[in-house]
Amino acid sequence: MLEIKEVSRYFDSFTALDRVSLDIAAGEFFTLLGPSGCGKTTLLRLIAGFDQPDGGDILLDGKSIIAVPPERRPLHTIFQNYALFPHMTVADNIAFPLRMVGCSKEEIEHRVAEALDDVSLPDKGKHYPDALSGGQKQRIAIARALVNRPRLLLLDEPLSALDAKLREQMQLELIKLQSEIGITFVYVTHDQGEALALSHRIAVMNRGTIAQIDEPSRLYGFPNSRFVADFIGHCNLLAGKVEQVLDNRVVVALEGLGQVQVILPTDASIEAGMACTLTLRPEKIRISSNLTQDEGEAHFKGVVHDMLYLGDVTVYKVELANGMLLEALLANSTSGRARFFEVADQVEVAWGFDAGHLVMD
């Protein structure tokens, strides 16, 4: 439905976007994820029309919208600080886009009431935005943007001003709302947890380009680069070199550790001698004082360097023979027990050949 073709944007000598291409399907919850300065907000402003690309094209339903001014594009934006009009009541705020297209008074009244119902704030119509809480402002901003059924809703870090509890609640509401009304959402965030929780698909952006586009679980499980692996969730990055390519496994020599077997990735062509990185999620690592080695398993000795008690899990940092700190998680399934090991304990760590994912450098 929304096609972004080779779009570039330069600010003086800074390249904000470098030939970015994207294809967003109708009804999709699509997220642009990346660190600040990666170009995600620039891309959003280009889609909204507040800025013009220096190259490339943006098509909505097959038609270029580059020449269409923002006020005539069939899409709305949710701004970071909601941008509710402070001098208008909530009802007038929601009625604003309807007034702009000249709806009749009765229809406006009817649809404003409906929109207030949709966001479960039916009795706030006469209030001014000042009198609302952050979460309520957020909902009114959403009601205002959805009241005249745009083709597309752009959301610019809409939850960043809320506290953690409320954010989680709003995330659930957003998912529900999006699936109910079926409008395509393009969501911008730097919070990878939020992106994983909300999206159908995520485009991870870095330095004005797209690093990877995929479903959340595939992004997490099969990152295509060190950057993506590191940016999404916690990840151990172990540098190494390809020794031998077998049928469905690769033998990798990890720097200062020795050989391990890794499942053969399908998304890269691999030859012996190539430099690579093994990306290994902390929850995939077994940690114990005494482990038996299974077939194809990597197995190393280490010393507990420090630990972080997080309530549901404890994170252990284990110092390996090559001096690197490996992060491993243990679920705290026993109440009242914060740790299984102490700092400076000798431990053994192990992971299966299918636990990690290999990326080429």
Binding site: A48, F50, P69, P70, E71, R72, H76, T77, F79, Q80, N81, A83, F85, P86, H87, F96, P97, M100, V101, Y128, R144, A145, N148
Partner: protein, 294 residues
Amino acid sequence: MQPRSWQKKLLTLPPLTYLLIFFAVPTVIMLFASFRYTGEYGGLAPWYSYDGGTLAFDLTLENWQRLFETDIYLRLFFKSILYALLTTVLCILLGYPLALMIARSPRRHRDLLLLLVILPFWSNFLVRIYAWMIIFSPSGALTHMINSLLDVFGMAPISLMYSATAVIVCLVYVHLPFMVLPLYANLEKHDVALLDAAQDLGASRWRRFWSITWPLSLPGVYAGSILVFIPVLGMFAIPDLLGGTDGIMIANVIKQQFVESRDWPFGSVLSMVLTVAAVLAVLLGAKFGQQAGR
């Protein structure tokens, strides 16, 4: 540390004292004077006499009656209010685009532009009025230009000097910065995201101005209007120098009563009416400003 309430009260003492001595007390004296008789050589006659053991107050309502004897004073009041309103409206029309332009210009240019707005304050008020006298003079370039244009169309030549037009033009010129500065202070604080949001929701440039910028700037408009309206209402120097008989305002008559006619009581009556008008204007402006600023 939170300031204690007596500390807060202490801080308000100097301005309160100042206002009491230099505003409240003179106003009461003026009000009192409006009920007294004129002295033999001008000034005020004694307000009581002590004659053989009986005390008599020499107070009168005559001065106030005089105000309503002819309609000349009320008409002059009305005309002055009209001038002040016209000046205020013209200041809004000229000052608003300027303030908006400065508020929207790049941050590094704003200080310079504001400096240009207040630059006229660096020269003396009277000097600037004399400058306008030169511009308006019958032999001045402006008059020449207008009259030669009128001549082309076969119309009679006009004189700009000593006219209501000259007074209004100069009143607007002198008070324009008082409109621009509060307007700028207001407009500069506007959140540009609101305009983006309005545009995003389908508002054209024109609609964005009238539904967002203008209503949000009303407190600034009212503040500027008060700052222009009140001094214009009491202005006598400009009509004195540029107005001739045509452009005279109420303050000229007040000045006349005190300086030339030496009729202080009647001058006090006119002053009181002017003060009440000004206070009413402030209250009205504050009320609207508060409503708009909510």
